[in-house]
Subunit: 192 residues, 2 copies
Amino acid sequence: MADDRNDSGTVGSGSQQEKSDARARSWENPTRKGEIALAFDPGERTPDAGLVYIGHAKTPWVGPGECPRNIRQARERAEAEAGLGFSLQIDEPYRPGLADYRPGQVVFVLMWMDGARRDLIVQAPKHRERPAGVFSLRSPVRPNPIGLSLVSILEVEQERGIIVVDALDCLDGTPIIDLKPWTQTADIPAAR
Amino acid sequence: MADDRNDSGTVGSGSQQEKSDARARSWENPTRKGEIALAFDPGERTPDAGLVYIGHAKTPWVGPGECPRNIRQARERAEAEAGLGFSLQIDEPYRPGLADYRPGQVVFVLMWMDGARRDLIVQAPKHRERPAGVFSLRSPVRPNPIGLSLVSILEVEQERGIIVVDALDCLDGTPIIDLKPWTQTADIPAAR
């Protein structure tokens, strides 16, 4: 199920500079057979709430065709190709929030996939036999294009706001909106 | 680390009705000893991107004092007290996105903790010995107050947009912003 990326177009909200950066990360995503689009574009609606970007991702993936489909594939690429670097670049005001980060810790990175189309509620990824509801996919194409990836911290430079991680499965420059510690008691399915 | 909730105040953006609802979920959160606040309130900034609410949570927790600190505690309460019900109520346009949901599946619920203060970058939760950087805490108090909880699906009524789940650790009425399938290959820390 982690292989459920789709291809996507259109641009999110934000400042002019951010819109321009987002355009560089957007790509064509014509509606495929079996796909269902909303009657509206969530990105064109008056927002219910507003996000601030706390930083951005630095990755080797500069075009949509280069980006691995998920974090497992990104990690495999990182292991296979020497010299691929991945880091989170956190803006100055938010750096005190990194105080307790150490190499070896595992964190969820929440990204804003600002190049992704937001109106496809049923999608037909190429690798799937049948179309699927968006909430069963990890596609960046979703009403709120939030990406969620679990990564390991390799190095921390708190003062410069740089967190080197083992892999990232988003395009270079993708905005970061949150970081959360992974916890065994909360983030593994409960026994039944 | 999952026990890292803080208490919080102030209200997010959104419509008047949503602001009123959010006010009911907000609470006082004076800055404690050792805590560090940003020089600005991210909730008062011009947003970099806009979220739409796709639904809301239905939980037994109606006042901040009642809400468990994390999903593990919520699950323990649900097991101890008969009759506690938890569900995700998804708005009509987004219901086709639930097409593949079945009982037994495990999903991440992303919530917008709209009652939470957004400017505390270092926090001193009561149960911690020392203040900690916000990105090492699962506190709803954070620059973008996104909550992330892993739950099991018990029942699905797609047409009515109701997903009954085993537990939720947010206040009744909390906006839902995304649902994602949990996947073993992506959401368990990589072996090293």
